[in-house]
Assembly symmetry: C3
């Protein structure tokens, strides 16, 4: 099956589920992902657990929520669109005037047809989200407001997969399962990562181990780090926060805090050579879990490759970020970029020549026998360039940057040179 359609199908299946940072929506989402990745290990962390500066919040369960307008119509019905209810709303069952109701309504005047996505995880309130167009049609009169929700001591749920490689050194992927019915931010992330896990499992003789987590944003990464930070700091070579990878717009790259990690190096090289255009953001424009992974005392080498980036597209955090906003080709493009990142990390060694001077390639049938004034073909020229720059200090990506070719065009050349005992790994 086409990889884009495969990933899009998973987005579609997961779309209707009401996810939040806790609760059955997360559990249902993870159980579907586990169907695709049987190795997925699911953890539950009790409400009240202390994780660094944070405490795992109560679990939220919303069963029914709607408003009855003065004419008796049911509006803002949670069962129609789970964005209508402010996340973590407490129960309410009241009649009130429009003026009183207005204080609990959220809409976007700049996007009148969109229902915004609003949450209040850490302060108790209730509210409804509505399109500005619909809001403006509301008439004076008595409104009945009804939310039946529950906030109770439960747990926070996340999933992780550890795929062992030849070394304990790890490549890390992190993505979210806490957003209700929105597509780019965020079903694209878990759906693309699910396919990447299959790709990683398919790699024979893996160099690296892979740690892949499906978590609620912020509190989830903090919980996860609080349990795994020592191992992660010790073994992580490169990590990626995978979010907003579903649409067909240009790519984006959000560097790590320093912008100088292995994660950055490989991301920049792949983007430079594999996609037409991309926007390089500043770490000042961070906004997702790189906030935790790159925080000073955590300091992990994590960057992000996105399509339309969180906070940078108008449909972000609204009902317009739906299944029409993403596409099989958009998802497939991001998948291929990340698959290339993995392929490149697996190949990124430093090499150096075994011999002094250029080797005599001609006697190995690797060089034209006739000395003419024209340029060599690309294969020969790239081989000569690789031999000229691979000094044992530069790794493959750095050599490829010097000689201005995609690193993957050197894979075959390296194999030929290794077979001919002309270079060795450092």
């Amino acid at each position: 099956m086409d990889i884009g359609i495969e990933i899009y199908s998973l987005c579609k299946e997961l779309f209707p589920i009401n996810r939040s940072i806790t609760g059955d929506g997360v559990r249902e989402t993870l159980s579907i992902i586990k169907r695709e990745i049987p190795e997925l290990h699911i953890s539950e962390i009790d409400t009240g657990s202390q994780c660094f500066d944070w405490i795992v919040p109560q679990e939220w369960k919303c069963e029914v929520a709607y408003i009855i307008d003065p004419e008796g119509n049911k509006i803002c019905d949670f069962s129609q669109n789970n964005l209508h209810v402010v996340g973590y709303s407490e129960s309410v069952d009241k009649s009130m005037t429009l003026d009183e109701l207005e204080e609990h309504l959220y809409s976007l005047s700049e996007l009148p047809d969109a229902v915004p996505y609003i949450t209040s995880y850490y302060k108790r309130r209730w509210g409804f989200c509505i399109s500005d167009t619909e809001r403006k049609l509301l008439k004076k009169g008595k409104y009945k407001v009804y939310i039946r929700s529950d906030l109770f001591d439960g747990s926070l749920t996340y999933g992780e997969v550890l795929i062992p490689g030849n070394t304990r050194e790890e490549i890390f992927f992190s993505t979210y399962v806490c957003h209700p019915s929105m597509a780019n931010n965020e079903l694209s992330g878990p759906a693309v990562v699910t396919s990447l896990v299959k790709y990683i499992k398919s790699l024979k003789n893996r160099r690296y181990s892979y740690r892949v987590i499906f978590i609620p944003e912020t509190i989830g990464s903090i919980v996860y780090l609080s349990k795994n930070i020592n191992t992660m700091q010790k073994y992580m070579v490169a990590g990626f926060n995978v979010s907003c990878v579903g649409d067909d717009n240009d790519y984006g790259y959000l560097p790590s805090r320093t912008g100088k990690t292995v994660s950055d190096k490989v991301a920049v090289h792949v983007l430079n050579h594999q996609v037409l255009n991309y926007t390089k953001y500043s770490f000042l424009q961070r906004g997702s879990d790189e906030r935790q992974y790159c925080s000073p005392n955590v300091n992990l080498p994590v960057s992000c490759i996105t399509r339309s980036k969180y906070g940078e597209y108008k449909e972000y955090h609204t009902s317009l970020d739906n299944l029409d906003f993403i596409s099989p080709s958009g998802l497939a493009g991001a998948y291929k970029v990340y698959a290339r990142v993995i392929e490149l990390l697996e190949h990124n060694y430093a090499y150096k020549p075994i011999l002094f001077c250029e080797p005599q390639l001609g006697k190995r049938d690797l060089y034209p026998t006739l000395g003419v004034r024209d340029r060599k073909d690309d294969f020969v020229q790239n081989m000569l360039n690789f031999l000229a720059y691979c000094d044992g200090a530069l790794d493959l990506i750095e050599v490829a940057d010097e000689i201005k070719v995609p690193a993957w065009e050197l894979f075959e050349i390296i194999n030929v040179l290794l077979e001919n005992k002309l270079i060795e790994r450092v």
Copy 2:
């Protein structure tokens, strides 16, 4: 009183005094400054004292100087304008033709109305300075030339203040008291520095000690260095040569020789954020006592923030650099830049977070409780950015540069974070 008017008044009071690199003009100037800064310590260094490669010259005292033209008019009268006599002129009492006189006259054809400022400290000669317009009107005939001056073994005079702080580490300010009646170069320097000393004294719980000197240019800094270089090399954190800080034109910045000292870092940060425009000069355009302070074996971290810089404005070293050329607002602007420099140096520590990951700001009422798609307000955003970048390696200025805000906008944030035990000084 408005700070600009206070500084301008001091310039006005000091303006008429005939200063040179030695003599009573310097002493009178320093006694007026001592009235403002009672702690000022005044030193006298004997003529003939060896200071590195230099010898303290004789003291010069000029009592009367003028020319009588063929019609009996007194011109170039020193008592009217002390610029009329070449500094360190020897006595003369002669009649001569205009042709003979011409060899001792100095004027500027490119600035016909200006009387130039000329000196001959280290070679005996005599001369008069005159405007080119006046010079062209001189008629053939007999001129009587009269200078009554004295060159004698006396001393060179300078003033210094040492204001102790919590550490022996020093911030250094140097300015001149050797220019006769000119305003920007140089009464602006000593007048601004006098007010800065009052500001420094007003700071409670000072981190740094402050060394402030009022000296004659070149020979004065060499004399001072010859007596204090070991202490200065050991304790100086940042220093500034304060000169030409009186007019309303754009600011200038002359870096230290390397351009990479603490002095440069703080100067550039303050200028980037506090003034509209400034010219960045090269150290090749040096010309004041940074020549000594930054010389290779001295190598102190000294830069200069100026308004119209010495050598770069047409009124420089002429009678046009007068009290009209400077202004209260110009002086106040420079004062505020240097006061900011001091404030920033006092605050420029490196910090790092105490906790792992972002802290939960919400539970400390430092974060909005509602998760919406809009940007946080500046205070919250700057706090988050500060927490994201303060890794213990970057100091405050470097963090502020990374997050693109004036460092002083972070002072309150740092206090809040310290009070909440979220960060600590490194």
Copy 3:
């Protein structure tokens, strides 16, 4: 004699000789150079000798070579132009049709009047080079093809001069003697280097030793390195591959692999200040023996200064690269650049002031006695700037770069400062 005419004359004398990577053409060339440089030591390395990955090839001797066309005309006559025969062609004595002959003909459609230069050192074949214009006039019919050449166990020949200096530290020059009748690439190199050797010998009290080699390209440098690499790696300070230095077009600079060696530093400084325009190439555009000298395990500090660079001009490796393509002025220009490089290397020490602060130049008659507002003259200003920047860490070239003057304008200043005991070598 004018240096350009001297060098051009040598090119002219050497031009007709049939050179290849081995053989009597190389020997005859070296014997003429030895007439100019009696110290030239000539070495013979036997066919079959193993040098790193390479084996010294058989010696090639071509005595007669031509084609008889169907009308009985002799064409492609080696005795008329030695480019007509593919280098290292084996013997042949056959009649054949034009179609059969075509497979052994080489011409350039883009340069129809040029006879290309083609070689086949490491694979046995035969062939003729012909202008495309002449080729298109060939008629159907029987052709008689005749080459009498010999491939036999002999030796590879190269020349070297070692000119001792005060230290064993070496400056290295390498150039080629393997090209048949072409002028820029390559008689210009050996002819210019021959004159440079005379210049080096004329230098009194040489700081550096000089190693100068005249070799066949590629195999010659590999052979030479295989015998001398340890000494060269231990003592070489800077080296230059001298090739294509004969025409009047703009200069070119091909950096070493890192671009950061002493060779690069001095080449860039000389080019920036001595020539009007030059092209900075990338090491990716290498193509001459810098391929060996800068290869990772050899890693010598070698760059190239050229005029029209190999591979970058249309006449390259054709009969159009003849004595008209080069000129006395072109050769002289390159000679003067390299002579300047040598002069600068000999002078490139780090200095530091002996005293603290600026010295009192006035008492040494090195400074104007009158203090005026104008700029000092260049000599005084450069002296002050040199004193301000020579901190013992920067060498002469680095100081000259800082103060934006050609380093050679500081030679006299340095002498004056040394004589006055104001600076010392570090």
